[in-house]
Amino acid sequence: MAKKDIRNNDRHQQILQAFQAAVGPENVKDNPATVNAYYGDWLPPKLLGMSVPPEFVVLPNGTLETQAVIKICNRYKVPFIPVGSNQWSLTGSPNRQGTVIIDCKRMGKIHEIDEKNMYAVIEPLVTLAQLQAEAYKRGLYIGSPEASATASAIAGHCFQGMWGVGYRLGVAYRNILGIEWVLPNGEILRTGSFSLDAQNGFWGEGPGPDLRGMLRGYAGAMGGFGMVTKMAVKLHPYPGPKTWPVRGTIPNQISELPEDRFKWYIIKYDSLEGAINFMYEIGKAEIAGVVQKWPTVYYIWWWANSNEQYWTEWQKRTFQDNVKNAVGVCLWGFTSPKQLEYEKRVLEDIIKETGGKPIKQEVFDLWVPRTANNWIRDTHGSRMMRPSGTFLALRLQTDTLKYAVDHVRQGYEWVEKFSPPILDCDGPDWIGGYDFGHFGFGETDFPVEKRAEDIGDLMNKLLAMTKEDVQNGLENGIGPFLGGPYHQMAAPVFNYEHLLKGIKKAIDPNFVSNPPHNIDPNA
């Protein structure tokens, strides 16, 4: 028997008409060709059959139209998922029938860049790359995560935001200023200075207790707390050129920043502890703009132009033999070229004292021009797919640098235990320092065979590990990235169940904002 077309359903038609009235008929989509494009990507949910196509895709323009759409969702009690650049479907693909995707494609304005007071006011479609380009023209800068600068800047700020330059500028949560935000119940919440002047978002806190606290958490609210339609974000002083310097053609483009203001080093150590000690000393000395201890796999992920090149170079062991326990440091001369000269001298002192050695010059020359500046402006994030078309992560932990070491070590054990289907990756330990080394982040990222049966099995094992962590009182692993299901499990252990459920119930009484995220208040 032919499957019944849901579009003939009265209720569907009723909701369709309501959306059309709110945003215009041309901005509501329910045809299969469109809705099928909105339910999955390279991440496991679709591969594992956990996603379903949405019933509608609605494209509001601005806060008021978004509010109207969310109010309609509340009236008819249909779930909605706000999406930004839609590069991340782990929580952005519908997991239940009847879901409405609220796509921000008509909200791509940069409302304002206040050069003097160093902030920008943006809409959700504006990407980090777009904002960076505008900022450079004004001698300013904003970070980008390694997931790619082509991501929505607002979504990037709401999500994890472990920027390549987070060592200097902090994690993205520190960058959020005023917010205009449609809550799940359809109310418009303006925070910070926007709360009193909708035209002026320069300040993020208050008034009084800071409601930005609802927006994030270690891995964002996963669309469970409504949709941000406008955000003011900090911009930062930048000593680089007005346009991003590249030469050559894709995929062999290279990028070189002015030598009198930027200088890369890659210094290796005999042990991970040696590398971390080096990072601590750099933070204490208050130098540098980027400090990252990349795993071997990152070097080749970001560098390889093709799957073939990836595996050829891997087999040659170019990176495994040269960058193990290496730390990448980029010095920035904010004040003047003399600052850069000063920082070089300081860094060289630290290298000497800590027993570090520069990696081989030929490996440095091979890697740095093509790849290193991605940590300042990432355009190679999608290259993480090179080896197999997907990747997974475990043990994402932020606390101190020292704590990160212990956790990536545990990550190694799990990677070895489940290899294959985890592919060869040489101890995938990524450790970043943030806020001048006040805290550190550790993550174990690895390539994995992209076969449903393997990924399904592996996901289950990793989830079992997460459950075990939680039972042992460790808020750890990949958990926070699972949003709702994780919070359901972890909230009682870490004592936030009552609080999070209370907030969810208060602002999402119909449980329509991307259920089960951020948590199911009735479970």
Binding site: L169, E205, P207, L211, M214, A285, T335, K338, D399, F439
Partner: protein, 475 residues
């Protein structure tokens, strides 16, 4: 009730005599006195938990108070109840030089913290020369601006242990996970820590706090720039901050700088008022732990280059004041442990109006303040102005200090009216009162409707019986 309080904190730690209650009924603001029913001096987290249980049972308001000095009415019991005096919890629980953080209890003062950190070559990120009795924890939780605007990552708060009004003992950030060092503020779940900042103790009572520390420079040089108007200070600071020059950077007008520097009142004060320029930028260039003098040298060179370009003089002093640099650096190195508060040398209190704005708008607010001050009989030489650049000069904290004789009813009334009217006008002109104390709360929350409604929803979850400092903010 007194018996139950005594059972919780011990008989000697419950104050209910008139004399003691009178002390807690008022502070250094112009708020009308409000007497508590009793004062409970606590010395442990367990006692706070028990007090909260007791308060929920009896619907008794609890007003947390971390120090002996208050300026904004935040610890006055609007609805009666029990003041929870936390000043006896004054231990520095842990100094972690490797990760540059410190764990403090509520009663730790800035002086105490600064001295303890000295031994580890660390320093706290303190506000402008705080009163000796000021709690470092309350300052940090209440988002008092730091003197050093150079850290892009902003606020120093990391993690905390907080006793919620609903009786829950809660830890924020990675402190929720007992295996960690408690260094990261986000989580568990969402960014709960933000709800306790700027909350005036209405969302929970914090019993310890982890905050960042920074390296304490061994070499420093102070520079001063004389300005006729506040707007003359803004452009140099924009430039200096954009180029990452200096540690401490702030602007004081003549009236405040004279009070800060004067050792003998009124003799020194009068001379300083004659000698000092209307406004002074104070910029401290500091050496880092490694090659400190080399860092000072390149920053100094850049300072001089900017000064030449912008045609201002960055000098070792202003107004011919001898030893100015040393005096400022000494004060920065050794925050006072006791003695009179510098801001009250002219009169016995200062009634401050402060808010967040941007430096390019500051002059406009100064002109408004001067107009109001004159209308209420304050001369230009009696209005304090302090501008603190924030986050590399991206914004600023602007503070007007109105001197007031608390012993004179006439002066109290005059300054109270000036304070209210000037605050209202500044607010109408876009001044952002991010920390709405006292009467500012109504002024602010009436206009921030959804923000207020959402805060109230949160309050119901964190403190369903509204036992924590009721009557403050929008609660």
């Amino acid at each position: 009730m007194i018996k139950e309080l005594r059972d919780i904190v011990g008989a000697k730690n419950v104050l209910d005599n008139e004399e003691a209650l009178a002390l807690y009924a008022q502070d250094r603001s112009l708020s009308a006195p409000k007497k508590p029913f009793a004062v409970a001096k606590v010395n442990s987290a367990e006692q706070i938990q028990e007090l909260i249980a007791f308060a929920n049972k009896t619907f008794t308001p609890l007003i947390p108070s971390s120090s002996t000095i208050h300026f904004y009415g935040a610890t006055l019991p609007e609805h009666g109840g029990v003041v929870v005096d936390l000043s006896g919890m004054n231990k520095i629980l842990e100094i972690d030089p490797l990760n540059r953080k410190v764990k403090i209890e509520p009663g730790v003062t800035w002086h105490q913290l600064q001295q303890a950190l000295k031994e580890h070559d660390q320093m706290p990120l303190n506000p402008l020369f705080p009163h000796p009795g000021t709690s470092a924890m309350t300052s940090s939780l209440e988002r008092e601006p730091m003197l050093i605007p150079k850290y892009e990552y902003g606020d120093p708060v990391l993690t905390m242990q907080v006793h919620l009004g609903n009786g829950q003992l809660f830890r924020t950030g990675t402190a929720s996970d007992k295996h960690t060092y408690g260094a990261y503020p986000e989580g568990p779940g969402i960014d709960f820590w933000r709800f306790f900042l700027g909350a005036q103790g209405t969302m929970g009572i914090v019993s310890w706090l982890n905050i960042k520390t920074e390296y304490r420079p061994k070499y420093q040089k102070a520079y001063f720039v004389a300005c006729d108007e506040l707007e003359d200070a803004a452009d140099p600071i924009y430039k200096l901050q954009r180029r990452h020059i200096g540690n401490e950077c702030f602007v004081l007008n003549r009236f405040l700088l004279a009070q800060l520097l004067c050792k003998e009142y009124p003799k020194d004060f009068t001379k300083l008022m004659d000698d000092l320029p209307p406004y002074t930028i104070i910029l401290v260039i500091a050496g880092a732990p490694r090659r400190p003098l080399e860092r000072i040298a390149y920053e100094e060179e850049a300072l001089m280059e900017i000064a030449t370009d912008m045609k201002f003089e960055a000098a070792k002093t202003v107004g011919g004041v001898a030893g100015l640099g040393t005096a400022i650096l000494d004060m920065l190195h050794d925050l006072p442990a006791d003695g009179p508060y510098w801001k009250t040398r002219y009169k016995n209190s200062t009634q401050d109006i402060f808010f967040i704005t941007t430096m390019d708008r500051a002059q406009g607010y100064v002109e408004i303040a001067q107009g109001y001050a004159a209308a209420y009989g304050l001369t230009l030489n009696e209005l304090g102005v302090y501008m603190q650049p924030l986050e590399r000069g991206r914004a600023c904290h602007l503070c007007f200090s109105l001197p007031c004789d608390l012993d004179s009813e006439q002066d109290r009334q005059r300054i109270a009216t000036l304070h209210t009217e000037l605050s209202q006008t500044l607010f109408e002109q876009g001044a952002f009162f991010s920390r709405p104390y006292g009467t500012w709360a109504d002024m602010v929350y009436r206009h921030a409707t959804t923000y207020t409604a959402t805060l109230k929803e949160l309050k119901k979850i964190f403190d369903p019986n509204n036992i924590l400092n009721p009557g403050k903010l929008c609660f």
